[in-house]
Amino acid sequence: MARRKGDCNLMTMKEQNYEMALDCFLLAGQIMMESGAETYRVEDTMLRMARSQDIEDAQSYVTPTGIILSLGRRQITKITSITHRITDLHKISLVNNISRKLTLKIITLDEAYDELLKIQKTNYFLPIHVQILTASIASSCFMVLFNGLWSDMPVAFVAGGVGHLAVTLVQEATKVKFFSEFFASLVVGIIAYLAVHFELGTELDKIIVGSVMPLVPGVIITNAVRDLMAGHFTAGIAKGAEAFLTAFAIGSGIALVVGLF
């Protein structure tokens, strides 16, 4: 609209606005991708936010390791790289809310950008002891769901909690996902082996599977297949590779324990 009027002042304002908008949409995409959203959802959200600002011909290219967003033929294009991916559903829901509000014009672009910056900085995870407790409970529930023995539940409870603690601590210290998962499954394997050795537990396999359950990449595998079906082949293959690497880390950690004893 400003272009049609040909007003010089308006043009520069519009251009600044475009730069702000590009940063805002890319930040939204980046937060969502880092929190483990599906590829198509990230594209959809960014393009919707763009259309709400009367930018009709925006194009995006989203992969699990980076996002390219262009606002149109004559506009600038920007790339953002994504280095780490976790599952953080709270952030996805918050970004979704902001995109909803922006689309319905409840908030302006500036407000949306400020809120996104705030979301990116904040850590919404529950305290670590709650997470460990839930991981323990989940591991012991696994025994009931998959025909394990009730008497194995305490061992799975301990092993699952320690495994989650190990993966969190090592991840913070080393920032290498492969190593932290390997180490955690090693710890789980040792605990399960010792428990069976001292006759606190019975079925080694069930205890190990239950305890590594919070680590296994089941969701990544499913998301990978889903992305492949939606036509996002790059994302699907990349996520498949990530899932394979995680499964390999866990498998080799356990195999080390089995091989040692």
Partner: protein, 163 residues
């Protein structure tokens, strides 16, 4: 009795994963409900003698439908309920067995388990996608303009009128 036990434990199991995946606090019980419904459907069908791949498909289909309902009611993205809901169905144990077989150099069993894991996760993804597409089709037929894209277009038209 056995079914009640399964429902209770799958509810706890899924809700715990909701916490690990950091779902919004008020959504966590509903994550548990989605997971429990999906699991009990899977469990029942699997006990009727249907293979695990087909049972996983049906389970994921039900999960996606229930997740869709909750997502509309709470105005949250569907992925929140989906991701925790399919957790009892995903072949984590089989994926683990695969890797264990392979690192123990038992390749035949490893490939066999790997194919099983791949087929089950493919079935889950198919169930999710099919349910999503079908519910959107039904929504579009029964109440006009209720799909997210159309409500988006309508909201936009409304704002343009104000200008």
């Amino acid at each position: 009795m056995e079914y009640i036990l399964q429902i209770v434990f799958s509810f706890i199991f899924t809700a715990c994963f909701g916490v690990i995946f950091n779902a919004p606090t008020k959504a966590i019980p509903y994550c548990g409900i989605v997971g429990a419904i999906g699991w009990i459907v899977y469990y029942y069908i699997n006990h009727m003698g249907v293979q695990e791949v087909q049972a996983s498909f049906v389970g994921a289909f039900v999960v996606a439908i229930v997740a869709q309902i909750f997502a509309r009611r709470f105005k949250m993205p569907m992925i929140i309920f989906n991701v925790s809901g399919i957790i009892p169905l995903v072949p984590g144990g089989i994926a683990y067995n695969t890797m264990r077989n392979i690192v123990e150099l038992d390749y035949t069993l490893g490939i066999q388990n790997g194919m099983r894991a791949f087929m089950i996760s493919g079935a889950i993804a198919m169930g999710l996608v099919f349910a999503e597409v079908i519910t959107q089709l039904i929504m579009r037929t029964f109440n006009k303009g209720k799909t997210s894209m159309q409500s988006f277009a309508r909201a936009k038209r409304r704002t343009q009128k104000f200008k």
